[in-house]
Structures are given as C-alpha cells and as structure tokens.
Amino acid sequence: MVSIHNLGFGYSKKKPVFEGLNLELQAGNVYGLLGRNGAGKSSLLRNIAGLLTPTSGQCTVNGHTPHLRQPKFLQELFFLPEELHIPPISMKEFVSVYAVFYPNFSQNQLTEYLKEFEVDSSARLTELSLGQKKKALISFALATNTPLLIMDEPTNGLDIPSKSQFRKIIASSITNERVILISTHQVRDLESLIDPIIIMDNREVLLNAGTDVIAEKLSFKTVQQVTNHEKVLYSEHSIRGFGIVIPNEDESYTKVDLELLFNAALEKPQVIKQLFN
C-alpha cells in the first residue's frame, strides 16, 4: 500500500535526514516504527502523509503522490501527530464537523471505541485531560476507517488501563484493507501488538520484518554467562543475567524482545541489514 523507493529528504541540503530509503508496507498489518530520537521517524511519517516533500526518490500511497495533498488521497489517510490539535468543542460537535470528510466513517465504531476508552463525548475537548484528549482522537482516527492510519507516539500520555484498552482497540480494528503505522519509543506498551517491526537509524531502514521472520533468524535469551562471544550480536546485563541476541541456530522460536532487538540493530547495523535483506 505504501511504497517508498530511494527516498531522500532533508531540511537543508548539507544535512539529509535520510537518503536512498526504501520501504514497502502491506495492507493488513500493524507496523511498529522504532528509532532513536532524531533518527528521522517523524520526518518519514510526514513524508508519507504528504506534509513534507521528498527531495529525491518516490513515495506513493495506494498510487497517490502524498505531497500533492489531493482530497482523494487525504480521504484515505488519517495522521495522528504526537502533539494534537484540539478545537474548543465537544466530541459530538467535532464529529459533526469532521466526520463528513471521511466517506467510510462509522458512528457505531466511534461510539464503541469511546465507550471502551471511557471518554465523555459531551465534554469540551479542551477541558479533558491529555490522556482523554488523546483517546478521543484515537477513537475518531480509527472510526474514519481510512486505509492508512499513521500514529506518532499514540501511547504517550495514556495511563496503564488506557494502554491496555488501546491494544484491544487496535487489535479489533485492523482489517485486510488497512495499514496501521505506529511510531513509538514505548516498545513495552506495544510489544505484542506491533508486527512487522521497522527499525530506522542513521538515515536508513535497518530492518522491516515480521516477528516470525525475526524469530526464525534471531534468538533472544537470558543466560548466566555470555559464552560464544563472536556469535552474540548484543548482550546487556540484567538482574537475571545477560539478555542476549544471537543468530537462531536450533530452530526454536523465542519471543522477540523488541528492546534487545532494537539495541542489537543499533550496535550491529550492518549485520542486521544483511540478515534481513
């Protein structure tokens, strides 16, 4: 659905945010985009959404060129930025104004999500807490049923029960026609939800793979001692010993530990790239 070839982008010519970036997103998936601060996650999301114009290469979404921002493209996209714009009206009024722009909007879904999130839809949005605001807009975003839904750090500001509700709602709203792309730092919040995983660093995509492919190629273990050093891609000390990432050689599938995977990718970017390309 989203297809990016050789994409280059930079706010100034001397300092490109990314160069020659390639990425394909297939419908029916909840993609998790990981990367350290300043790795260009937000810039990538904004390029896909058409808020920024690529300096080179192509980016297409369902055949549309995002940066032209034509209504037919915008109807197929909902972008939930990290910093939300909240008009001083109630959720009911908000829906009465904005829902008409989205042809597949479903009032039933919205009601259901708002109920699950326990958001008061008659209160003024500006008077809600940050978490409530976020939940109101997440509910609306999901109810628009756009083929592409991009969320930048959606779990920031959500309390613990809300994070669980968020996972339930996302799990229920993904369909075969839809791509949900979530950028996050809070991998623990979404660990069992996001799949495939995209890791960005140093102006490029290091990895874009489903957790089954990752588990096939890499093992994530806790060991008392790190023995075969040359094979271990990454290890870190924890209370229970060492968390390690090593190539999977015995065909047993371990649970993909996103934090370990992310750290391994940053430490051995070339190895990770070779393994997954």
Binding site: V30, S192, K255
Partner: protein
C-alpha cells in the same frame, strides 16, 4: 495475558488454548473464538493469533469449517495430551533434571512429594 520471555508469543497462545482444551473448558466440536476476538482479549496482533490457529490446525487440534471459523477437533484432547507430553519430555524435563541434579534432590523424596501433591490437588 503476561507472556514469558523464552518462547514465541504464538506458541504461548497455543499453549493457553491447549490448556483450555485439557481443562475441558472447550469441548470437541466447540467453536473457537474468532481470530479477532482472541486478539482483542489477549491484546495481541491478530496475525499472531492467526499463526497460532494455523499451527494448531497443522497439529490437528483445531479445524476450519468453510466460512464458519475454527472448531475444536473430536480428538483434540488426545492430540493435545500427546503434543504436550512430547513438549514436556523434550523441553521441560531436561531443565527439571538439571535442577534436581544440581540441588541433589533424591528420587524418593520426589516420589513422596508427587503423591502428596496428587492427593492435595486432584
């Protein structure tokens, strides 16, 4: 659901389903919750649940009826027992042996404790 760290999530979900079958919470020919339902319940990606169902179908524990979803096989109970036995003997028993060897626990003590456990719980 809290997932352990040493096993892929889809296998842990498979284990959960097997447990429900062994405990007779799900009888044979019962309809299994849809992929979406279970994904929402467990807060995991629906694709992961789909993988679990594929895996269980391969093992003959559940089967599909066209357009109606997944159902528990007639001989699911036996299949699960067989599958779990194999898994236990292969994966968990060696760990257990290692532990009793390191701690020097006697087999007769285990025998006594096991009998006590059985009378207490079942």
């Amino acid at each position: 659901m809290e997932f352990r760290e040493n096993q892929a999530i889809y296998l842990q979900i498979a284990e959960l389903i097997c447990e429900r079958i062994l405990l007779k919470q799900w009888a044979s020919e019962d309809k299994v919750p849809s992929v979406r339902e279970l994904a929402v319940q467990l807060e995991v990606n629906p694709n992961t649940v789909m993988r679990t169902y594929d895996f269980l179908e391969q093992k003959g524990i559940i089967f599909t009826k066209r357009g109606m979803g997944f159902f528990v096989s007639t001989d699911a109970h036996d299949k699960v027992t067989e599958f779990r036995r194999e898994e236990f003997l292969q994966n968990e028993l060696p760990q257990f042996f290692k532990a009793i060897h390191l701690l020097g626990i006697d087999f007769s003590e285990l025998q006594n404790r096991f009998e006590a456990f059985k009378t207490e719980n079942y």
